[in-house]
Every structure is written in C-alpha cells, then in structure tokens.
C-alpha cells in the first residue's frame, strides 16, 4: 500500500472507527458554502436511493474554507427521505469533514479521497465538484454503478452542453487526448468521475503530489493515467452541468495556460505510449443521452478576432520560435482576412497545436510564455468555429468537432516527425 502518512491523525481515527465501506463519494471544496449543501444532499439521496444495502461514506476534503463550508456539509441533510426515496435506506451514510494536507488545490484534496478509499477498502468511488448546481441523485448511480456492478475502473462524465460551452475542451483537450491515447473520452476534464478502489490505489502510488497535478491538473491527470494504465474506461451521461459562476479574476489566458500545460506535460511523460497509438476507439457510454439545447448566447466575434490579429501583429517573434515556418506563414495570411470570411482551417489549428506541443517539450521558450502566447491563436480558432457553426444544430456541431478530432488523428505523423526532428521529450 502507498505511503499514507500525509493523512491527518483525526481522519485516520475516524476512518478506523468506520471500518470497511463499499462506496465512497469525495467532495473537494474551498469556500463553496453557497452550493455545497445541495451537492451533499444530492449525494446522500443518491447513495440512499441507489445503494441502500451498501456501506457508504461521504468525505468532504476541504482546503481551509473561511466561509463556513465544513459547517454546511455537517448540517446538510434531507429533511424527509420519503420525498426522495421509495423505501428507507438500510444503512446510514457515514460522513467525514476533513481538511487536507499538502499544496492547496483540488489535486491534494483528491489525494486524501484516494487515501481514504485505500484505508476503507472502498470498491467504488466517485468525486463530484462542490460548486455544482445541477447535480441530481442519479449522478451518483451513473458514476458508481458501472464500477460497482460492471467491472469498470474509470467513469468519465458526459454533459449536456451548449455548442459554445467548453471550447477549450472541444478544440484542444478532447481532440488531443483522443489522438494521443486513442480513447474517445469526450469530457476528459469534466471534474466529476467514478473510479474503482484499485484505480484509487494506482493513483496514490504516483509521486505527483508536489507538482501542478496537486494544484489544478488533477482532472486530465486522472483521465490520462486511467487510459495509459490500461484500466477499463467508460462514460456516463449526466445531463446538464451548471455550476457556480467562476471567479472573474481568473482570466482566459491563465485558464488556457493551466489546462494546456497539464495536457502537454502529460504528453511528455507518456511519449513512449502515445507514439504507438494510431486512430481511436469509442468508449462505452452509460445513461440516457438526449439532445442539446441551442438557445442563442451573446458572442463578441469582433473582439475575438481583434485579439487574434493583435497577437499576429505583436507576437510574431514568439510564434516563430514555436511554430514551423509554414504554419507561421499561414497564420500570418489568415490574420488579414475580413471578419465574415475569416477561417482558421482545422489542419492549420492541428499543426499549430502540435507545433506548440513540440516547442513545450523542447523548451525553446519559457513554458509559461509559450502557453500564454497561445491565447490569441485559440481565440482565432474559436472565432472561426463561431462563424462556421452560427446556424448549426447540435448534430452538425458534433459532426464538425468529430471532423476536427479526425484531423488531429490524421496529422499525427506530422507530430511524430517534428517530435523526432527536434528531440522533444527524449
């Protein structure tokens, strides 16, 4: 068993008192008093309704909230089980509220959850974000049941999302992860996952808890580690994902830098693995999938294009050090197109991302600066996507994203060629 000495003494004592459990649900939190009560109630109802005969534990791993989050978790309860259940649960759901030790971040919070799973011998686990407003008791069934009853090791979420939601996932994280590792996990950084006790132990065995994984890269790390570790992977359709408004001080560039940096860093770690992968395979889906609503949302296309053009004008020197000369020339050419005829072709975007991946490994530029310089390019690609899908329905949008993913797969030889040319990751 991995080293568990980082667990707080009080938590160890509580876990020892509880003993073995079948299902463990972890909720990482930091100042989520507004929303976590609803999440705890949904988890409690989900466990009582769908796993009434199983021993269950709800673990809140908190990062030192100052808004009373732990108190809300302790006090949250379902007023009357009759309103949500057909029968009374056979077993009470244990509940632990604990601070985590280590670098502040979701990764450290989840490390505590993995360790608790190892101590209690949990067969199936789930983690859900504490800022969710749309979570229902069914989410727990959908994340836990495939692990507990069908032998899956990792269940990623599938959400009902607007075509302009999750654009970093759609244009970078999903296609890149799919092309690299060959598994079509649609929401690799969804944040709400189900996993087996076996996989929790596997996660614990990795020495990544002093890195960015502990801070913010945990979601893509969990997905990638599950895929590359050869674990059995599935997806569950959870419906809509609505969460509390994000902190406005976290700007797009910082978000993009963190997410892309996590993906590219893992790419270096698993180079030997993804080099051998060709094409991709579907991943089993659980749950009832339904169509995506497409109500219009405001989009400031002119501003996105202006940022892209400013980048093309001002960051040419930085881009030239990251991009292949042909890619840099093509980007300079499209920057002069008019707003309405603007197109950032999928092939050009794929090559841009692959060039950045190679530059990231090669270290020809400070990594933070390299990733920050991606923001105008990402906005250019997103603007092109908006122009292309302005009147498109859900199926058409999904088809366009599928084409982009296939382009990432087709262009993989280009990535390999450049990776070897520059000695990236060796």
């Amino acid at each position: 068993m991995a080293d568990l000495s980082f667990l707080p003494e009080s938590l160890r004592r509580q876990l020892a008192e509880i003993g073995q459990v079948d299902v463990l649900v972890g909720i990482p939190s930091f100042n989520n008093a507004r929303t976590i009560g609803h999440v705890v109630r949904a988890v409690q109802a989900g466990l009582a309704r769908h796993f009434p005969a199983h021993r269950a534990l709800l673990l809140n791993s908190d990062g030192g909230s100052t808004d009373g989050t732990p108190d809300v978790v302790r006090q949250a309860s379902i007023a009357s089980f009759e309103t949500v259940l057909a029968a009374h649960p056979l077993r009470a759901v244990h509940r632990i509220v604990t601070p985590y030790h280590g670098i502040p971040g979701k990764g450290s919070a989840l490390r505590t959850v993995f360790a608790a799973a190892a101590v209690t011998g949990a067969k199936a686990c789930a983690v859900v974000d504490s800022d969710l407003r749309s979570i229902t008791p069914e989410w727990i069934e959908l994340l836990v049941e495939p692990v507990l009853e069908r032998g899956f090791d990792f269940i990623a979420p599938l959400y009902h999302r607007h075509k302009y939601d999750g654009t970093i996932t759609n244009s970078i994280v999903y296609p890149l992860t799919r092309a690299l590792y060959g598994a079509r996990v649609r929401q690799p950084i969804g944040g709400d996952f189900g996993f087996s006790g076996r996989l929790a132990e596997h996660y614990l065995g990795h020495d990544v808890w002093a890195s960015d994984v502990a801070r913010y890269g945990i979601d893509i790390w969990m997905t990638t580690t599950a895929i590359t570790g050869g674990f059995r992977i599935g997806q569950s359709f959870l419906g809509a994902k609505i969460h509390d408004a994000k902190d406005p001080s976290v700007d797009l560039s910082a978000m993009l830098t963190q997410v892309t940096g996590a993906v590219l860093s893992l790419m270096g770690t698993h180079a030997a693995r993804w080099r051998e992968v060709r094409g991709s395979h579907p991943v089993p889906v659980f749950g009832f999938e339904y169509a995506v609503g497409l109500e219009p949302v405001p989009v400031n296309l002119a501003r996105m294009l202006e940022r892209f053009r400013t980048g093309a004008r001002e960051l040419g020197e930085i881009w030239q050090r990251a991009l292949h000369p042909a890619t840099a020339r093509e980007i300079a050419a499209i920057a002069s197109a008019s707003d309405e005829s603007f197109v950032f072709p999928p092939t050009l975007w794929v090559r841009t991302m692959y060039d950045f991946a190679v530059a990231y490994q090669h270290g020809r530029l400070n990594r933070e600066h390299l990733l920050r310089s991606l923001t105008p390019l990402y906005l250019g690609r997103t603007a092109s996507f908006v122009v292309q899908t302005r009147d498109a329905g859900a199926e058409e949008v999904e088809q366009i994203l599928e084409e982009l993913c296939l382009e990432f797969e087709r262009e993989k030889p280009y990535l390999l060629e450049r990776w070897d040319e520059t000695g990236g990751g060796r």
Binding site: P298, N300, R303, E314, R364, N366, H369
Partner: protein, 234 residues
C-alpha cells in the same frame, strides 16, 4: 685616467650583468607562469564549455533570447564557448599579472595588487548586467503577452518601457559596483528615472486623457457597454 675608465666600464658591465642575472630568474619564472596560465586557461575553457553544453546552457540562452541578441551583434559563437573563452582570458590575465609580479618591479606590483582588488568588482558588475539583461528580456516578454491577452493598446510600447527601465537600472547598478563616478551615476539615474516616470504620467494624463478616462471607467465600473461572451471555455 685609463684605469679609472676601465674600472668604471667593468664596474658598469658587472652591475649590468648582475642586474641581468638577478632579473633572469624572475623573467624565466614570468614566462613559465604565462605558459602555465595558457595551459590552465585552455583546460578550464574546454572543461567549462563542455559542462555548459551538457547542461544545455546554449538551449537556455536560446530560450531566453540571449542567442538572438548575440546574433544581432553578428556573434555566431555558441554562448557556452563564449563563456569558456571569457574564462580563458580571465585566467590568462590573472596568470599574466602573477607573472609580472615575479619580475619584482615595484610599480608593476602595485598595479597588480590594484588589479586583483578591483577584479571582484568587475565580476560582480558583469553578473549584475547579465541578471539585468535576462530579467529585462523575461519581464518585457511577460508584459507584452499580458498586454496582448488583456487587449491593452500599444503592447509593444509597454514591453519596451519595461525592458528599458530594467536595463537602465541594472546598468546604473553595474556602474555603482565599478565605483565609476558613483554620485554622478546615482544622481543621473534618479533624475533620468524620475523624468521618465513624470514624462509617462504627463503623457498619459494630458495626451491620453480620454484613454485614461476610458480605462479608469472600465476598471471602476462593473457595467460594460461591450457584449459579454456567453462562452464557458472549460
């Protein structure tokens, strides 16, 4: 008279040959020290250049923009070799000074003592310049990226101002290390720095009054006339 002349001639020649004989071991020692300096300098140059290459120093210089700056000055030598050569000359110069002191000439000895006392100041000034240069490049690029991503007008100007300020500051610090007209440099720096800041403030306040007004309004007013995006990027 003839005897006196001969005595004087012989005496002078004796004195000359004695002086030469006294000087010769020193000269020989000086030549040997110089040769030793050449060998030690060459070995250290080869060793340091190789170590720097193994530690990917050239690549680090490439990513920090040092190679590009050297290229602009038409210096194509890899930075690792350049540093190795610098070390060679430093070692050789030190041995040369030691060699000169072996000659036992009074004023040369004083010069050498001053050289060795001044050497640490030269090295620390070079270090200050190098760190200042690296910092200026790094922060000006960070400012450029930050300004572009935040949609701030004239990002290149902002980056240039950041770079110049840091370079001027490090140059003044290097001169202060070298003790070159310390008070004048300090006064000139304070005046120049103050003038730049005042100039920027005036330019922003008078020339860019409307821009300043818009920026402040945008910062202080949470309402915005721009259409907010309905995107959730993650």
């Amino acid at each position: 008279m003839t005897a006196t002349f001969t005595e004087r001639l012989v005496g002078s020649l004796n004195a000359f040959f004695e002086a030469v004989l006294r000087f010769l071991p020193g000269l020989l020692a000086a030549v040997l020290i110089l040769l030793l300096g050449l060998v030690v300098g060459w070995v250290l140059k080869a060793l340091v250049s190789r170590l720097l290459r193994v530690a990917r120093f050239d690549r680090a210089c490439d990513s920090n923009g040092i190679t590009q700056i050297l290229g602009r000055a038409d210096i194509r030598t890899p930075p690792s070799l350049l540093l190795g050569r610098g070390l060679f000359w430093l070692v050789f110069a030190s041995f040369a000074m030691a060699g000169l002191s072996a000659l036992g000439v009074g004023f040369v000895n004083r010069l050498i003592a001053e050289f060795f006392l001044y050497l640490p100041r030269v090295l620390s000034a070079l270090l200050v310049l190098l760190v200042g240069f690296l910092l200026a490049n790094f922060l000006s690029r960070a400012a450029l990226l930050g300004a572009v991503n935040a949609g701030i007008p004239s990002p290149r100007l902002i980056a240039l101002v950041v770079k110049l300020l840091i370079l001027v500051l490090s140059f003044a610090m290097a001169l202060e290390q070298l003790r070159i007209a310390t008070s004048i440099v300090l006064a000139a720096f304070i005046i120049a720095f103050g003038a730049v800041m005042l100039g920027l403030a005036l330019a922003f306040g008078l020339g860019g009054r409307d821009v300043a007004k818009r920026v402040l309004e945008r910062q202080l007013d949470t309402r915005t006339d721009e259409t907010p995006d309905g995107f959730s990027h993650l």
